[in-house]
Subunit: 406 residues, 3 copies
């Protein structure tokens, strides 16, 4: 399912041939801590990173192989509100899963059941009738699209990796210290920021080989295992650590030399105290990147380069060579600026996207997805699906030799 | 009590000589899902339809006979806040009950108890003293008013009937599908809209004879029994069905031919899917009537006349002869326009009223009630109570041969 | 702890040599029912009356002797959000406790524990290191300040007494009648209003001798015991009773002669009914003092002098000689005006203060505390701590023979 961190998916994946998940993009909009504005904005399409976030995560968990076991084919019955997806979205979600590497997209369910608890859950067929539902007609169209696309190549490793750690989630749930410090939310927002630049992303586990990645984002890694540290030390790309990184040892204790503990081998700093900030509070950050710290702000002593400072002059973003440490929860503006800075430093080519458009590469194909409400002009030429004018709730794909961000 | 739908009052009424209820108009303002603005607006008078809604409902349940067993005589002790009613309101509520047909208005309680849990509940007398309370003095005045009015005639059947079904409430509680789909709230709003036109209303049960009604409102009837269908078929007046009508059979299943199931005998349509809309969402409705769909919006296929459409062109309000089906939860504007259209089609004479004034006929008397805050000019001549200038929190009554709306 | 009324502290204090309490000024900001604006305003300093309110209360409970057993030395771990106190606040809180008469200020804890549940609770020393934390350095500075101040004289009795009754709290919890009638909140707001005038305050128990007080505030005293009545009768100062005073006898019953029961010996009035007002409602008060009644409004019959009236002309503030009765919960404006009127009548000299500055006398010293964010000019000359320009988050003290308000 979406936004579930109750067990270590990496460990479970070790014993599986492939991973699979249940994709209910609209229902999950009510589950994630979006603002009310965002919830209204994405109520009938889903947010354009909800399904992709999980596709990329479960592709990693499945060592490259994943299925969508249950794809939402219309309104469901279990969210507080269950709107009908905008026309085109069932097809969009289907092709999007394929673009992210899904081997199978299976819908739940074949026919809407006229009885019992799930009778308001849409199916590919109307209840009691041999007649396709609106979603069913889009599923049929998706199958035709796939035939047109022909055989698909596997997904290449992405230039950007997000290190995703389940233990980190549990640690922040056990000891949030600020009511709205939600590790999952932070990881999602970092993913959203990097995808807004048209970049593909792989999720990797702590300890995974990082030597070929150009940019490594570590939104949350409270405990840095020996394995994780080794992999980080051998990385040649740009690395960005988020707040609370290295702040606990394997016994859930504060390291003797203070946080970030073992990461002090990579970048010299000590976090002497932390402030969790209620929703009305913020601290301005300025310097090489600017914006605001919200929710969480660390007091840092460092001999590294100070790229940006809090309002009282304390270090906010520091760097030593390729290693960066951000000592706060960044608001949208600061996050956008920090990520842009990292991407520039990693020399990645980007395609800045509006909030409602995303790109994803598979083999030599570039897919574009428009979550609406306005059209977008695709930067492609050799279209195999759609054309250069990408309408709301639709999909395009084109062939490209060397695509930025892929 | 007010806003209680836990059992089928119609069935219980079968074994009773008369119905009675406990009228706490101010306490119920906090119980009903009003907006905060409405709660503030009506905090010290009650909303002008709360007591009447129940008077009309229980008059129906009591086959024409009902009592007010407990009338609020001042501030009570059990609501989150318990304001003193504005001067005049205890008398207004008393005479209003009489106007709606009450045979008895009994107050709770005779004397305010100085002890125990209910010691803050006002009585007609002050605690421990042989002295009338403010409410007690108004009750005495009401008795004098009744003497002046003399013998009262029974209530005539109203031209407008609202079909009120308890099973429908339970169905929406079991399966709301949208968090704010509250059947009771929808019925109350339809009642409010029709009463704002100065019309009298009877509540009737499914299966009741409808042949003499000029307008029949069916805000909620998920399961249409054979009896209910028969009565609807023999009706000659205008009928308006609300959303979800006929959407379940007697086994709580979606009908084989899709909703509205048996109502397809009356008006040809199929509901293929439904959208429940979170509070930030709305869909514009335009055509013969306009406004917005909120909370609930159905996808309708029909060969009937399409009077209004949703923003994408889908049918919103349809009609075949005298039968109408509204496929959404209407906002205040749409509801007002739909009801006005039905009333015109039913050729009912109306008296458009401001939000704080209501009329009610009993025999040859027309009563007017002003919930404040501004005066209103009564359209009567032969006054038996008050005069043509109706002050806030006061009552007027006049004799009229043929009154519009009665 | 702060804002705890679960037992009668006066009774417990009878058996103790001194009282002590745990002062967590920032954590308590989230505990008290402040507005969101206030919570944001005081998030990093605490509200300037939270610690003093408790110092003054526990000095009374301890018959003049009290300790701070646990002083917050930095961010804690148990509030919803735990910001770092602004630099200077640990020293300010320490010296403030001393100014209010504390014999000991002990910090919790010596060293931040790197393990277990409280590992995010700051200490005077950093975890695992022989190094003072930011708070530890301020504690060291406070010790130096104390040495400079030399031997301190005891606190003199304050000219203003607040009668604080635990039974009253329990009564309003058992029977609030309005959801936001919180006795503790009312007492705190009265304390805040009097301290905004630069005055020192003692808390006293019902029955305590009041003969030397110039002003006696009784924000809440539902049951007036024989002892309490005797003490009030012998008082020569100005007395102000708040709403609900005398409204219950010792059996928790409404007095036979109606509220305020035994207080009718002091001021002739009867409360015939009360209105609890939801947050959107208010009633204007005008006359000698003006503002708004919120939350609670009483209907008063009286032959005493009527100083101010509600919008309908009913008495709001009445007086007979030195005795005053306020029949409502005053909003900030009305409270400020009422308290100012009492202070004038009591002929107390005042120093009107901005919201973020407070004064407190001990012996011949006057202390000033600035909770920020802007500087304040102290009205002193012979400074023993700081100087006439009082910066945010800092403390000043000066010697003065006869100080207004002390």
């Amino acid at each position: 399912m979406g936004f579930v961190n109750d067990f270590d998916h990496w460990a479970v994946g070790d014993n599986l041939d492939l991973a699979s998940w249940d994709s209910y993009p609209i229902g999950f909009v009510e589950k994630f801590p979006f603002t009310e504005d965002e919830r209204n904005r994405w109520a009938e399409t889903s947010h354009p990173d909800i399904a992709p976030f999980h596709h990329d995560l479960y592709r990693g968990v499945g060592k490259g192989r994943f299925w969508v076991m249950e794809q939402q084919p219309g309104p469901v019955n279990w969210a507080p509100w269950n709107p009908v997806p905008r026309p085109g979205m069932v097809r969009l979600w289907t092709l999007e899963a394929i673009a992210h590497g899904a081997e199978v997209v299976s819908y739940f369910r074949w026919r809407q059941a006229p009885f019992a608890q799930e009778q308001m859950h849409a199916g590919l067929n109307l209840p009691g009738l041999d007649e396709l539902s609106a979603g069913g007609r889009e599923a049929r169209q998706s199958a035709l699209d796939l035939e047109n696309l022909g055989a698909l190549k596997p997904c290449a490793p992405a230039p950007v990796a997000i290190l995703y750690d389940y233990e980190n989630h549990w640690s922040t749930i056990i000891q949030p210290q600020g009511r709205d410090f939600r590790a999952e939310e932070l990881a999602f927002r970092w993913y959203e920021a990097i995808r807004r630049l048209g970049l593909d992303v792989d999720f990797v586990r702590p300890g995974a080989d990082l030597s070929d990645r150009k940019l490594i984002l570590v939104p949350g890694l409270m405990h840095v295992s020996d394995e994780a540290l080794r992999a980080l030390k051998t990385a040649k790309g740009i690395i960005l650590f988020g707040p609370r990184s290295g702040s606990r040892d394997r016994h859930f204790q504060i390291p003797d030399a203070l946080p970030p503990g073992p990461l002090q081998d990579l970048v010299p700093l000590r976090v002497t105290q932390v402030s969790s900030l209620r929703p009305g509070l913020a601290d301005a950050v300025s310097g090489m990147v600017s914006g605001q710290a919200v929710r969480w702000r660390e007091s840092i002593k460092t001999t590294a380069d100070i790229l940006s400072r809090f309002s009282n002059g304390d270090p906010a973003l520091i760097a030593k060579d390729n290693i960066h440490y951000l000592g706060c929860w960044p608001d949208e503006s600061l996050l956008t600026n920090v990520i842009a800075h990292m991407v520039r430093k990693a020399e990645l080519e980007t395609v800045p996207l509006p909030p409602h458009v995303r790109l994803r590469r598979r083999g030599d194909l570039v897919f574009a997805f428009n979550y609406g409400p306005s059209p977008w002009v695709c930067p492609g030429e050799d279209f195999v699906l759609g054309g250069s004018q990408l309408e709301p709730c639709s999909v395009a794909a084109w062939r490209e030799g060397a695509t930025p961000g892929g």
